[in-house]
């Protein structure tokens, strides 16, 4: 038996020189197992990956995402700077709106995928993957040069807690201490604000008198919220949500986060997205606003197009219980002479669906929905069908 590398017990990891979440002590007290993620020690699970996954699908799950990066742009030309720096048209979003976007390299490759919140007329918050936070901050600073805006990496001053699942809304409004930031500031206003909050919208709230940005966003395929606040308030909010939610709120580690986002067909940077991948290959062509005025980094390369045989991202669904995983090869047949046509980027036995699902880059000629392909699972070819993600979609 060879245990999974990279997973350590709290005892074994205590000596490691790594960054710790502001919720670290809370996680250790809860008996979490930790993993090294982009230089951070983060919970990989508290007890059971499957139980945590199912909790998000049926009640709600609580995630510590304080390792994510937050870069703030403030200034009269913050919107213009982002229109130049990112693939999307961020000047077009309203205050209180969020937008999924991409930071492209000059050659059109993906440096990171991001969620951008417009938090004021002249103010945006860009949320980057932990592994890319420094690079994103550097690129934004460099690309904003010449625009009247300040770029500030506030990652160390922002904690992020996500509450995801069908019970998330109820738990959030039941939790005492929330108010809308501004005059009045009572719990009724907060309930009304939550009820009015649409998907991919955010508003400034307070928790026990201190600011928290409440966003209806997430990475699980469920309804849910992401709560940005000062690190020293994170443990208090985490405990308050757990106390209020009781059995409806299950702390969840990064292992369940990965299977949840895979079922929801959401790409993960480092798996589906990289410097070597263009947005169109990943099915993210719509994120690139070629119609927007003015230049943006990567525009020329995207407009020049790409070879027609560049691999494209597809979903794959198989029967049985044997999952193909990242880096396994995809073949056009089950015989020894079958051509290799792609590579898996993420794969797991779907906890919700009960059968294996995967995402893979395959050559375009075998990418049509319904096509049968074969996944090489450590020497055994498993039949799979090309499907259009998401694999799982919640009932509306």
């Amino acid at each position: 038996m060879t245990p999974e590398p990279g997973t350590t017990t709290p005892e074994a990891s205590a000596a490691a020189v790594e960054r710790l979440s502001p919720l670290d002590a809370v996680h250790r007290a809860a008996g979490a197992s930790f993993t090294d993620f982009a230089g951070w020690q983060m919970p990989v699970r508290y007890s059971s990956d499957l139980a945590e996954h199912h909790a998000v699908r049926t009640t709600s799950g609580l995630f510590d995402l304080s390792h994510m990066g937050e870069i703030v742009l403030i200034g009269p030309e913050a919107a213009a700077a982002l229109d130049y720096a990112l693939a999307g048209k961020l000047s077009a979003i309203e205050v209180g709106q969020a937008k999924y976007s991409l930071l492209l390299a000059e050659d059109g490759g993906i440096i990171d995928d991001l969620v951008v919140y417009r938090t004021g007329d002249d103010r945006y918050m860009v949320v980057a993957n932990a592994s890319n936070a420094g690079v994103v901050a550097d690129e934004l600073r460099s690309r904003a040069d010449g625009f009247d805006t300040i770029v500030s990496d506030e990652s160390d001053d922002v904690a992020l807690i996500a509450l995801q699942g069908p019970d998330a809304r109820a738990v959030l409004v039941e939790t005492p201490g929330f108010g809308v930031d501004g005059p009045g500031n009572d719990a009724d206003d907060f309930d009304a604000a939550i009820d009015a909050l649409k998907y991919y919208r955010a508003f400034p709230a307070t928790f026990e008198g201190e600011p928290v940005l409440v966003a209806r966003t997430g990475y699980t395929g469920e309804d849910g919220f992401e709560l940005y606040l000062a690190p020293h308030r994170a443990a208090r909010l985490w405990e308050a949500l757990r106390e209020t939610g009781g059995s409806r709120v299950v702390p969840c580690g990064l292992a369940s986060r990965d299977t949840l986002r895979l079922e929801a067909g959401m790409p993960l940077y480092g798996n589906e997205l990289s410097r070597d991948i263009r947005p169109a290959q990943a099915g993210l062509g719509r994120v690139v606003a070629l119609a927007k005025d003015g230049d943006f980094v990567g525009r020329a390369a995207i407009e020049a197009g790409q070879s027609a045989d560049a691999p494209v991202l597809v979903g794959l669904a198989a029967e049985g219980r044997r999952a193909a995983r990242a880096h396994y090869d995809v073949y056009d047949g089950d015989g020894a002479d079958a051509a290799k046509v792609g590579v898996i980027t993420s794969g797991a036995l779907s906890p919700t669906l009960g059968h294996p699902v995967a995402m893979a880059y395959v050559s375009p000629e075998v990418s049509e929905v319904g096509r049968e392909l074969f996944l090489d699972v450590r020497g055994t070819r498993i039949a799979a069908s090309v499907v259009k993600p998401p694999f799982y979609k919640r009932d509306a």
Binding site: M1, E4, R45, D49, L50, H53, A255, R322, A323
Partner: protein, 123 residues
């Protein structure tokens, strides 16, 4: 459930319970915890000849794949069908209902004692 202190162990985080010429084999609680939720177990059929130190099966969790090594030379007399049907037994009862294989063997290699194994995993 078998008493862990009475078992022998391998550096591959497997336990071996010897009764006459039959060795019952499973993975330790430490290994089960490291794997996470086990969702698929692939075991050799009864009658398969296994060679010490070679991979004879696979234990998959939601997040990773563990290889099952044969800790002894011999012939598989039984694979635990209950674990194939309900892989979560490896997590819930690794030293008991979560056993994996029974292998008939004529000679045992040197294995670790419980204390030696605990030292290996830092407990």
């Amino acid at each position: 459930m078998t008493e862990p202190s009475e078992l022998q162990y391998t550096e591959e985080h497997e336990w071996v319970d010897v009764d006459g010429d039959v060795a019952t084999i499973g993975i330790t609680d430490y290994a089960a915890e490291k794997l996470g939720d086990v969702v698929y177990v692939d075991l050799p059929a009864a009658g398969t000849t296994v060679t010490e130190g070679t991979v004879v099966g696979e234990i998959e969790s939601t997040k990773s794949v563990g290889e099952l090594f044969a800790p002894v030379n011999g012939e598989v007399v039984e694979a635990n069908q209950s674990v194939v049907d309900s892989p979560e037994l490896v997590n819930s009862d690794p030293f008991g209902a979560g056993w994996l294989l029974k292998v008939r063997t004529s000679s045992l290699p040197k294995l670790l004692t419980h204390d030696e194994y605990r030292a290996l995993v830092g407990e």
